[in-house]
Each structure stands twice: as C-alpha cells, then as structure tokens.
C-alpha cells in the first residue's frame, strides 16, 4: 500500500471461523449456570421466565449447532473495511439483475445481520423467489460498530449520525451513486439519521420503527392514535428497563454479558412483549412464530457470545440515547425531505398510525399496515418484509 488513505479504504474479504475451543467453552459455561429461583408471577412482569431460559439453555447446550449458522454466513460474500477508525463488517450481495437498486439495510439491538439473512435471496434474486426482476436490489448489510464481526469503537462519539455518515462512506466506497436505505430498531435510527443527512445519491428511506415517536409528542385525536400512545407509554413505563440500563450504565451490565451465556441470552430475550412471548413459545411449546425459530434465535445470541460484543453493543445505547454521551441534548437535523416509506407490523411495540408518520416526515411516499409480524419483522416474516421493501421503493427506481 502506498499511502495510509488507500490502506484505510481497503475492502477485504471476510469469513467466519470460530475455533472449536470457543464452542466447547460456551457449552461448559451453560452447563455451569447457577439458576435463580422461579419468578413469583405467571407472566413476564418480573422478567424472562425460568422455564423459558432453562429450555433455551438445554437446547443451546445439546442440539444447537453454530456451524450451520457459520456456513450460512460464509455462503454469502462478506467483507470488512475501516471507516472512521472502526473496522466495519458487511455482507454485500450483488443481484444477478444488472439494473438492481442498491439498498443498505441496518439491523438493531438485540439483533445482528443474522436477523436479515432470510431476506437476502428474495431481495437480491426476486425471480428465484416468485418475484419480478424489476424489484431486484444489490444488498449491503453492515454490522453496526461494536456489534457482531465489526470492530468496536475505542473512543466515544459513535452515535447514530456518525454511523449514518459511515454508511454513506461505505456505499460510496462500493461505487453506489444511487441507493436507498432501510432499517428497524437501532437500524431505523441510523436510517432516519442518514435520511436527515441526505448524502448525495440517497434516493429515499424506509423504516419499520417510527423513531421520532420515541422523542416527541404525537397526535392523539383518534382512537387509533390514543391506542398507539398508550402502548408507547406502557413500554416507557415498564418495558424499557434494558434501554435505560444500556443508555446509562452499559459497562455494568457488560460484565454479566461477557461472562455468562445464560445472562446474555436472558438480556437479549427480554425485549418487547410480543417478541418475548414468541421466543418463549419457540422454546417452551416448540411453536415458533414464522422464521423466529429456536435455531435462528440462538444463531443471533451465539453471535453476540462468540464475538464478545455484549458490552460494546450496549454502549451504542449510551451513545445514541444516554444523558452522559457527547451527543446528549444535540438537536437532530431537520426531518428528511427525501422520500420516506413506512410499514407498521401489528406486533410492534406500538402500531403506528399513518398520521404519526405524516407528522414526522414531510415526504411520505409509502405507508402500509400489514397483518402479521412484530418488532423483528425481517427476521420473523422475511417474505412479507421483502414485499414491503419492494413496494416502498418501487417508485424510486
């Protein structure tokens, strides 16, 4: 390499290769778990239920096979490239259809690229999945800084806007001059920030979590709006313990997440009510919801375990939402004027009314309320999610 600039923009191929010892250590630690007594209530109001975690741990230590997840990841073109001092891991699948639209799609917490894998085929090769070549995408799936196989930041300041700038640089580096972006959960935050920055070439964005609703008052004139506001209030009153802990003291919870696989699993399973009961159903009753199967759930948790990223992922909440972070109190850029699409899934923390979307974004080109799926929409219902992404961006091609 002739210069540091060239070195820093290198894109290198990447393959997952976890040593056997790490998997043996994981199984040993699961077997050595010291369990709490059973919760005193018949529901999740005290947290992840003992029966759920014990079924999960039993399956994890006996039947679960990480090597299948590894093979699935390694069957896709994966790369790393250093952006703004952090090594970014990403999957990059180019469509066989030459006129495909480039799409950068971002996962959230407690997710990873694992939650998006089942959408890769339908999005990039629609004709092989019952779709139309005109809906094809070239797909870029980056791992957030501090998550999965991306490096973790070694300094502060990696809030959503900085990640968004890194994503714009990544797309530029890949040679994409016209592209769209999509995200859910933290990925929706990154995608929202990217839309506000409106880098050259970004044609539009689609999210499946209405980020502005988390930070400001929304209309409550109709029954639908009041129902959404009530759900959001319940989440902020009793459902966001994980959020507050990670936004204020990520290092503290990090010790448990790096040391105990069962602690990590409990922390990751205890997200929203809908997803929790679906995951519990997969392990306790053997009845997964859609693609949210035992193996897929454990692929994601195992990825966090093997990469040791529980603490660094938690810090992303401190950066994005914490009162002590450098970005705290900083006013977001004005609402994006580029085209915006939104899909509301019924199991999401709140069902977003169209009026909330229009109150948040001035240029809504697509809105759809679908009849199944939840917070992890791409993971749980990959075909439906794919249909939504195709429909949202169809007018921008």
């Amino acid at each position: 390499m002739s210069s540091t600039v060239e070195t820093a923009s290198d894109i290198s191929p990447f393959q997952v290769d976890i040593p056997d010892e790490a998997l043996e250590d994981l199984r040993r630690r699961i077997a050595a778990t010291r369990w709490p007594s059973k919760e005193l209530v018949p529901d999740r109001s005290q947290g992840v239920q003992l029966a759920t975690l014990q079924e999960l741990a039993h399956y994890w230590a006996t039947d679960y096979d990480w090597r299948k997840a590894e093979a699935k990841l390694n069957a896709l073109p994966q790369f790393t490239t250093e952006i703004d001092g952090v090594n970014i891991h990403f999957i990059h699948v180019q469509s066989p259809h030459a006129h495909a639209l480039p799409l950068i799609m971002t996962h959230g917490w407690p997710g990873s690229v694992v939650e998006l894998l089942e959408t890769v085929g339908p999005l990039t090769d629609p004709t092989a999945h019952g779709g139309d070549a005109a809906d094809a995408f070239h797909l870029v799936l980056p791992s957030l800084p501090g998550y999965g196989f991306s490096g973790e930041p070694t300094d502060v300041g990696w809030e959503l806007s900085r990640i968004a700038r890194a994503w714009a640089e990544l797309m530029l580096r890949l040679g994409y001059t016209r592209y769209v972006a999509q995200g859910g959960d933290v990925g929706a935050g990154v995608t929202d920030a990217l839309g506000r920055q409106a880098p050259e070439g970004l044609l539009g964005i689609h999210t499946n979590l209405l980020v502005p609703a988390l930070g400001g008052a929304m209309p409550t004139a109709t029954d639908e709006e009041r129902a959404a506001a009530a759900k959001l209030a319940t989440f902020q009153q009793s459902g966001n313990g994980y959020f507050i802990e990670m936004a204020t003291r990520p290092q503290t919870i990090g010790y448990a997440l790096l040391d105990s696989p069962v602690a990590l699993a409990a922390w990751m399973v205890d997200h929203d009510t809908d997803a929790y009961y679906k995951i519990a159903g997969a392990f306790v009753d053997g009845e997964p919801s859609g693609n949210l199967t035992r193996d897929h759930i454990l692929d994601n948790i195992t990825l966090y375990w093997l990469t040791g990223t529980g603490a660094s992922a938690a810090r992303s909440y401190w950066e994005a939402y914490g009162p002590d972070a450098p970005a705290a109190g900083r006013q977001p850029l004005p609402s994006p004027t580029i085209p915006f699409g939104f899909t509301t899934f019924p199991g999401e923390i709140w069902r977003t009314p169209r009026s909330w979307v229009e109150a948040s974004y001035p240029n809504v080109i697509y809105f759809h309320a679908v009849d199944k799926g939840g917070h992890f929409a791409a993971w749980e219902e990959p075909q439906l999610f794919t249909d939504e992404v195709r429909a949202a961006f169809r007018s921008l091609r």
């Binding site: 930041p153 070694t154 010790y255 790096l258």
Partner: protein, 41 residues
C-alpha cells in the same frame, strides 16, 4: 403443639459455608471473560 406455635418458633443459626463453595467462587472469578475497557476514561 399447633401449627401456629410452630411458625412462631425462634431457632438459633450459625453460618457454615462449605469450602467447596468458596473454591467455586474463586474458580469463577478467575474464569471471568471480562468486558473490554470502557470507552471513556
């Protein structure tokens, strides 16, 4: 003796933790896969 009497009994108590428990504690501390250094000094 009635069941009410039984529940009001006061018994003496001594702590007696087996050595193995202490050895397990030390083993677990030694085996801790510590979180990386926090990003702020």
């Amino acid at each position: 003796m009635t069941s009410i009497d039984s529940t009001t009994e006061i018994r003496s108590f001594h702590v007696d933790v087996p050595n193995e428990d202490q050895a397990t504690l030390r083993r677990r501390i030694a085996g801790d896969a510590l979180a990386e250094t926090e990003t702020r000094a």
